[in-house]
Amino acid sequence: MRLPVLEPSDLESLVPGVSVIGSPLNGGQKLVFEANYSGEKCAVKAILISAEALGSVPGNDYSDDEAIARAEREVEILGGIDSPHLVSLGPVPFQVVEHQGQRIVIFSEEWLSGRALNEEIADQGPLPVEQVLEMALSVTSAICSLWDRSIVHRDIKPGNIVRRSPGGEHVLLDMGLAFDLGDKSITPSGIYVGTPIYYSPDQLILRPNRALDFRSDSYALGTVMYESLTGSHPFATQGSSQKEVVTKIVNGEMPVAPSSIVANVPNEVERLVNRLLQHRPHRRFRTCSQLEAELEAIKANI
């Protein structure tokens, strides 16, 4: 996936009413603008569908029209999901704009003023168990809300988990929207789209006749919980390459126990993380509600 070439002034002229506040951020597969619209602060997102010089965007297996229709449908679906732990849509409506030979999808999300989980881990190192469980419950709630609509997020990572406000509740961002334009985690040329070191084995090994389900997201949650508890990714050591980490995930390696890195990780938390990180989906949790119930029970006992 490539980012659109779009300056703040371009956005302001393409979408009347938008007032960009700062420089755009690289949001992985999209450009993100902090902006005001109708007096409301929001995050305006721009995704490149096609550019004259490129034709369709690499990694996108759909025609332009199909990709746009799919993105619009996703936005409609997400707009209909009422979850306090999923980022909600912002005031700028979904639209497709043409700019310098590019076709660009524009939409917006609520503005989140809290910090991302990766920033918290980078600053604090291992987080308190209670805080990790609270975060896990929020993310699980978001995963469940998506799965109720048969949506798999496919890019759960610390950078996509942000507090709504400083010290506030955790919210899951980037609900697979960019992925769904191509509906592939791996492009035909074998290039990963997204953040493969947080992918599940099922996401990395595309087995015939097997569609991803929420259990793939639950594996990613296991990775995030592990990193939150220990301050380090379960499969990455100092100097690890992405390929080395992905190989470990694909091969079904299990990480060292969190308690061997950080003291005072309760057994039941360790067991839960271990279960989420199982190579095989059938060894994880079958339903979202079972995972939620287990997290609630552990939280109540700690």
Binding site: R207, D213, R215, P281, R286
Partner: protein, 395 residues
Amino acid sequence: MILAQHGWAKTNRIETGLTEGTVGGVVVSPKDMGLGSLETYMRQLAIDYPQADIYFDPQFYATVFDNRKIGKLDQYPYFPSRPLRRGQLSNASGVRPHVERTLDYQMLRPVKALISPSIMTDSLSDRWHRIAMTFASESAAYHSVRGFNKDLLITIAIDESCLRDLNAVENFLDELTSLDVAGFYIVIRRDGMVYPAATDSVALTNLLFLVYSLSELNEYRVICGYSDFIGLALVAVGGQSMATGWYHTLRQFTMRRWQISTGGSPANPRYSSGPLINSVLVSPEMDALFDANMHTRVISGTSRDGDFVASRGSSVVWTEQQSQLHHWEVLQALHSDIVAAGVLQNRIDLLKNKVELALDIYDDADAAGVTFRAESGRRELNTMSESLEDFEDLI
């Protein structure tokens, strides 16, 4: 729970088992009873034994058998009048009408849960397997759309050889556990003309793992059909029910029951021994144990054992029906012990301990000069013991 695996010549066995509490329900067989008779029978059972769990195995898997002997199945409205070919089932639209007719039929009967139609497969990776999975997914979808108020159990009908490859079993589990259904009804086809057929230890280990994953990890209800003593291991790892019948072909699923008979002689009477976790021939094996004064170590201690001991298994007292009802009593007692042990590890430990004790008895019998045929001897116990050990390494 032990369920009666219904078959031909039921007499009043099932009612006796339900009255005595040695079985908690029944899996009825349309192959062995005409449409009207079976419907009347199920209704009467539901009235007389309201607590009994009644299941209807649609036996749809027989639609693809060669040289098949389908008994009364052709009287049932969901059962295809002609054998089905692969091409007729190669997509969902070919499978869907069979699913609808089979589930609709059961919905109107006094069954505890619906059992999905499926086909018997020899592999977990060929086209037939894909068809079986289509039956499963279409059944789950139809059950959900219709909003049936009875649970759905998906039929897993596979040859034992499918279980020899753990990787294939894990792929299978990944797929099965994506189904939003209440549980599974498992039928494993086994080769062999003798009873009990020799169990493949790798296949048994992987079957234990399959049942464990479905029941313990994923919280499905699992009924293991056509079970016998080996079914106790399936209960130990989490299976909720095992179904077993009176004839040997109702205790292990073989193609003998489904193919035109080439004749044969009646089975020799057997005695089911709780302490041995096995059945042995009344003559000469139990005779030899009596002669060696070892019978007290193998007697099961059920309500029928007094008659057996007093008559030394005389065919006058120890009738075929007595022997068969006794079999349920013995399995029920062992089953209860295992369930009462509590959590998974305790159940496994208890069964392993019972197996060790049984092997000790075999050792002593050897020392006393008692000999057994292979199928009555320690072969199945050794397999169970080995498989339980390997299973523990797997989980």
